[in-house]
Subunit: 186 residues, 2 copies
DNA sequence: TGTCGTGACGTCAGTCGCTGTCATCACCCT
DNA sequence: AGGGTGATGACAGCGACTGACGTCACGACA
């Protein structure tokens, strides 16, 4: 007999997402999440820093993916091309987890506290991408701006992808990038 | 005899900023802020939704300023030109409150919870600017992108302005906009 | 001038997010 | 067999935040 069921962290993530969808974020208690996962409140806080973080377990993996894609872009690629290739790669990973990503996004957009957390995750992502660009030799005001613009495009493409039906993520990214070019040139 | 000293809200803002600088954000209690302002904890929460919001009282005014500037830009101005003129206007207002803005920024950058709040305020700003652009007849993917890019430039210009000595805000905005053009074109 | 509503504040009690501390016990290594 | 390790439970406690209710200066209005 095992003393504890495996994958406590995953069970907590799943229980939290379910409860946030059922009753809303503020109406659900950490103790309730833990109970549904067969654990205690104290154990929840050993796995996640706070009540919000339980929804953002995949952020680190996404960051690694983006950074690796930027670093792995061909040397001849311009900074923006490197970032776009990273966004397309991330989009492909997203398409696989379609339903989960949509449910998660529905909860987050409904609660300002969770939107805050998502925004700081995106800012961290942008900072990581900027670092990857600097490692490609891009100078600093440009690297930062390029990363910031890329993440903005990513965010908008994601929202359009969630809203629309089965649109291809890569196409949204390229369209938005074209619009961005047009707008900044004016 | 007056029953209460006037400007309770302002006293709370001042006391909070002082204490956050003296002891750090997490180490100061809402009860301590209220006590320094000669009030009770309960009254603090009547003026501000939470412990962070006390630092962001000026956000609404900044939003009004930006929206008015975008709306007031000449009809011949391109969307990006309208946004830039708004940023320059906001920068001028910022230059006047120099020391206060720097102290406030020092506290915010030192604490992730406050950075979260600042990011959502900036996102709200971007949404308001996008709305103002739409009212000028700019179509929606472009309006949103333009506002998003403008706020990103604003954020970076503000950071450079805080770090550097007495640099002119408007110059920073224009330089960054040039870099953004270069980077997105690539 | 008396009265009455209103708004800003105080007081109190309570919930919940989050933390520190210590005990427990299956598992692994030797 | 014995000891170390890591994940968990149990418990106490702090502080952020809320709801309900009482208090009192101030202004409107008769």
């Amino acid at each position: 007999m095992v003393r504890w069921e495996p994958n406590a962290r995953g069970r907590l993530e799943e229980a939290a997402l379910e409860l946030y969808l059922e009753r809303g974020y503020e109406q659900t208690t950490v103790a309730e999440i833990a109970a549904r996962a067969g654990l205690t409140e104290r154990t929840f806080f050993r796995h996640f820093a706070d009540k919000r973080e339980v929804l953002f377990g995949g952020a680190a993996a996404l960051e690694d993916l983006l950074v690796a894609a930027v670093a792995g872009a061909p040397e001849t690629a311009s900074p923006m091309e490197a970032v776009v290739s990273a966004l397309v790669t991330a989009g492909a990973a997203l398409q696989e987890r379609g339903p989960a990503a949509r449910r998660r996004h529905a909860v987050i957009t409904a609660h300002p506290e969770l939107r805050e957390r998502e925004l700081i995750k995106l800012a961290t992502l942008a900072e990581a991408v900027a670092g990857a660009l600097r490692r490609r030799g891009v100078a600093d005001p440009g690297a930062h701006l390029c990363a910031e613009a890329g993440i903005a495009v990513f965010k908008m493409a994601f929202e359009q992808w969630v809203a629309g039906g089965g649109v291809a993520f890569a196409g949204l990214v390229r369209d938005l990038l074209g619009d961005l070019r047009t707008v900044t040139a004016g």
